[in-house]
Point group: C2
Chain length 130, copies 2
Amino acid sequence: MQKQETLTKNQKIVLDIIEKSSQPLKAYSILFDVKKKGINAPLQVYRALDKLVKIGKIHKIESRNAFIACKNSKCQIANATIFSICESCEDVTEIHDHKLSEHLRDFKDNKGMKYNKYNLEFFGLCKKCV
Amino acid sequence: MQKQETLTKNQKIVLDIIEKSSQPLKAYSILFDVKKKGINAPLQVYRALDKLVKIGKIHKIESRNAFIACKNSKCQIANATIFSICESCEDVTEIHDHKLSEHLRDFKDNKGMKYNKYNLEFFGLCKKCV
DNA sequence: AACGCTGTGTAATAATATAACATTTATAAG
DNA sequence: CTTATAAATGTTATATTATTACACAGCGTT
Ligand SMILES: [Zn+2]
Ligand SMILES: [Zn+2]
Ligand SMILES: [Zn+2]
Ligand SMILES: [Zn+2]
């Protein structure tokens, strides 16, 4: 069981903004939003983001340099993420697919790598944008 | 069948540098290397990179903002990539695993997304770094 | 020739992320 | 309570990654 982390003031502010958005937010857009709450510099945002990613409260969408809240209580450690991304409207959804996760978790290459994390991003068009 | 593209001068220069490296290169490190060949500005590099990615000659390692040559003749279209990344020495290897590729290609979510691309990155420690 | 398309060269700037330093707060040990 | 230690903060400056804007060149098509 993962120890329940107590978030600090800045971490709470940043997490709050991200959780209120259904879609990924960029660091500087978060910065803009939290200026009214006393966070003034990029580094303050990036430090909070780093921590939140580390404890699995949020995930980074690598191809978009953006951050989205994790809604899955199981994925408290940010080590196994799958996203679906619409290239037209940029809608992003985290995917929880047991079978696929299992395949990825069990994957072994032929070079003896010790895996502890993966990130998978699917791209395409959502229903609305087809 | 994909039309065989004829590369332009700048595209050839950039591809050449990337193919000579076994490991991913960053855009500005490529720029530094090609200055002696008459490429002076970031944009010239980024334009060549964009094209090379589009035709599948190279892939972008999203989590590293770096570019690596594709050695697989089959993956001429850059729409299905799997990488293994050592978090200690940063060694990157492209993975070609038929079974895993099949699973990813066949994956369907429950929202009616039309996928046309995916990118998967595994992270861990390589044999040397364990 | 006129057009559309792709690529080029150059300058300027935007967007993303980190380094360095001084200080403060939280936690734990003696 | 005091001391030690780790984690977080606040601030400034800077590094790194990527794009906008504009003028023009080459090439194939009509
Ligand atoms: Zn999650
Ligand atoms: Zn869409
Ligand atoms: Zn490839
Ligand atoms: Zn390694």
